[in-house]
Amino acid sequence: MKFGILVTEGPYQHQASDTAYQFTKAALEKGHEIFRVFFYNDGVNNGTRLMVPPQDDRNLQKNWTELAEEHQLDLVVCVAAAQRRGVLDASEAKRAGKDADNIAPGFRISGLGQLVEAGIIADRLMVFGD
């Protein structure tokens, strides 16, 4: 079965990203396909490579990046929500005249159409938020 995953909260403040990660991992272990993980609202903050959590706690960005590498997941960060909150890739940074970017490996920035598409193509769309 094809799952789409929507994450609407940032790392640490709410458990939503943790739950979405555990669900995604369990779905892959059961042989399901993850069509896309879409990060919206504060969820975009999961995709910054500047995260430096304490060494004895989980690193949510690394968790997602590694899971994506292992299973060729499509991790998409909403461009409008990300700009509002300060998550940029190199080309967005350049366009906005910013001197740095912070997107993490394995994440790509795209439009909200990618979320609607996930709703259309996936058999089930799972929403993780607050």
């Binding site: 555990q22 669900f23 369990a26 779905a27 059961k30 089930r124």
Partner: protein
Amino acid sequence: MSTLHTVSNSPFENNAFKSCLDHVTAGDTILLIEDSVVGARKAGSFGKEIGKALANCRVCALAPDLSARGIAADTVLDGIELVDYGGFVDLAAEHERTQAWL
């Protein structure tokens, strides 16, 4: 045509659980995740509400979320089924749609 409803906020703090109960259809399943599992305790004041839901729905709770909040399996309301993340995936696959009550 059944639906898996997920609730994540505590019923003591937030009305999402109550609103879910108000809109559930007979044959649906409610899965308690994250902070909502604190409502699953047998001795808590929310038990009666869940009891009513159990009359026409299945109610499940995510076991790792219960453990994290120190809620032992034998203190959970009778009739609530415990599942792990794999069980959550199975529930999502078995139902035709999922509705998150945020």
